[in-house]
């Protein structure tokens, strides 16, 4: 189902809600602006706070195709933008030779034609799509190197790419571009300038509760509240990597599968690996720490 782009911040919030994405108003506003102004949106935040999810939700909510480009070091034009089908090109050259095709201009025109062009995500995003402009998700841009970032400048400001052998390919409809970054590297100011920027923070208690209810409905109400209170308290601890929302959801599902009705120190100990991924952090919660945190969380819930 193709949906029109939302016309107000409230519309945007409603759209996200329909797709079970619990967002705060600031995120909805910046998303609305990005859609309205047709500007790329750069989302930064700790791992597991739902950056990539935004693009997926938009894709299903608006009924647009999602084109995803996962960045990595050394990502180059050949795997991000376009590539020629060399085998077929060489074949074409040989065939032309065999057929006595003499004109070099003609041959060049034939060999560098759309037939032999393999389009990669960025080029695909500029093509016309049935359901309207697609959603282009450039995931973890910080993993690509600075050279690729520089290449993106043309794509993101003019929505066009230059293919050396043919010319410029311009977007039919401007795609909706979402970039995410985990900040393993600073993104260059020139790229940031072209985007709207939003920092997604860990949600507060009420919102996280809403998220867990929406995404992990199997967990009972008591358990859900305790889980959220516990994770919220855990984020205040001096940890190397605080658990993200994704971890909370995993944990809620895990505890629900284990038929837990409420948090018990033993069960928490056994499942800590779902929440914390560093041995130092897990070691910090040995002994009575978990028991104390559960009591504290319950105390807080009672108030």
């Amino acid at each position: 189902m193709i949906q029109p782009v939302p016309q107000s911040i409230d519309d945007t919030l409603a759209l996200l809600e329909r797709e079970h994405y619990v967002a705060d108003r600031s995120l909805a506003s910046v998303l609305f602006l990005a859609l309205k102004l047709e500007r790329p949106l750069l989302l930064e935040g700790e791992a597991g706070v739902g950056k990539t999810e935004i693009a997926k939700v938009l894709s299903s909510g608006l009924g647009r195709q999602l084109i995803r480009l996962q960045c990595y070091e050394g990502l180059d034009v050949a795997s991000a933008v376009y590539e020629w089908n060399y085998a077929q090109q060489m074949m074409a050259i040989r065939m032309a030779e065999a057929a006595g095709e003499a004109s070099r201009d003609r041959l060049e025109h034939d060999v560098y034609s759309m037939r032999y062009l393999i389009k990669r995500p960025l080029a695909q995003a500029l093509e016309p799509h049935v359901g309207g402009a697609p959603i282009l998700l450039i995931d973890e841009i910080d993993r690509a190197d600075a050279a690729f970032e520089a290449y993106l400048l043309e794509v993101l400001s003019d929505f066009q790419i230059t293919i050396a052998e043919i010319g410029t390919l311009k977007a039919h409809d401007k795609p909706i571009v979402i970039l995410t970054s985990n900040r393993t590297r600073e993104i260059h100011d020139a790229l940031k300038r072209r985007c709207l920027y939003h920092w997604i923070d860990y949600p507060l208690f009420d919102r996280e509760l809403a998220i867990v209810r929406a995404k992990a409905p199997k967990a009972g109400e008591v358990l859900t509240r305790e889980i959220v209170a516990f994770v919220q308290a855990l984020r205040q601890e001096d940890l190397f990597k605080a658990p993200g929302v994704a971890e909370t959801l995993d944990w809620a599902s895990a505890l629900a599968e284990l038929d837990a009705m409420a948090l018990e120190p033993d069960v928490v100990h056994d499942t800590l690996g779902v929440l914390l991924k560093y041995q130092d952090d897990i070691a910090k919660l040995q002994g009575n720490a978990v028991h104390n945190m559960i009591s504290a969380a319950r105390e807080k819930l009672r108030v």
């Binding site: 060399y86 060489m90 032309a96 041959l107």
Partner: protein, 392 residues
Amino acid sequence: MSGFFLHNLVHFARVLRAAGVQISPHNVIDAQEAIATLGFADRADMKACLRAIFIKQHDQLALFDEAFDIFWRKRGVIEKLIAAMGPQLKKADEQKSSPRIGARRLAEAFQPRTSKSQAQARVEFDARLTTSDIERLQSKDFEQMSADELMLAQKALAHLHLPDDLMRVRRMMPTSRQERIDPRAMVRAMMRTGGHSIELRYRTHRTQPPPIVALCDISGSMNDYTRMFLHFLHALSAQGRVVHGFLFGTRLTNVTRALRARDIDDALARCAQAVPDWNGGTRIGSSIAQFNRQWARRVLGQGAHVILFTDGLERDGVDVLSTEMERLSKLSQRLIWLNPLLRYDHFEPKARGIVAMLPHVDDLRAAHNIVSFVDLIEALSRPLQNGLQRQR
């Protein structure tokens, strides 16, 4: 053109030259012609005109602006000239009251010099020259240098040759060596000959220098050395290397942006501004912990080499220091510790902090004179020998 203007122009050029701008006599002739063409209508026009002729580097613009304002205000030449030229009088620009960039160097350039300091300034500093004077300066402790000598040393640091350490990255580039086939280039080459012959084309991995992450102690005991180290970092950064700079006393401050200021004085001033606890005490362990937690994952990703600049005299307990050093060491491709205490011949690593840190670094080096920085550059250029120092 009146003789006294030309006199002033030459003088102005000499002032700029003394402040480090390269101006040839030919430039001065150009400037004279340009001004003659332009006439003395407007102070701003003249400034723009002289700037276009004398300045070829962006980082010297601020210096020029400042010099121009001081020089031509002091003498009031332009105003007099404009007045003499008659009716097209315009009001001169109001002076900006921005922080004075390059003020120290300009002040020195404006001062009449004795023949001795002039001779000194003319010494072209090459890191490997063997004149006895320079040799003495190269191995002289920064702390014992006079102000003049420090300046020479700073100049020398700014002109050191970069380390030529390169690391392979995953991006490819064409090569003539027979490595990987580059099909795109091959089809291009075939098209050039009309498809009659197949020429093999190759590509290989590109190499580039790894970024440098510097963690620098700013406690009182390190003052002079820290300043020189910042000069060194600024030189690296100015020559195009990716440098992330952090200063720590009792807490960590990121000064990467400050170091990127073109002018070294400006950069140092910004660093000083950014840091709340210059010349205070140090808490090495907790500062490194803060780095590990907040920054390590962000700046150590691209095979960065870490330079830790500290005397290692920890005021807090050493347990934190040891674990955090271990973590830092595991996170970094290469960890070099620069310690100015190594200037003492009989230095022995006995302080608890030093003992705690030592097992986790790849290399411990001195950093108290120019020679030690030259050596550092050489060490950076050498590939890391596995398991040589690091006891893991």
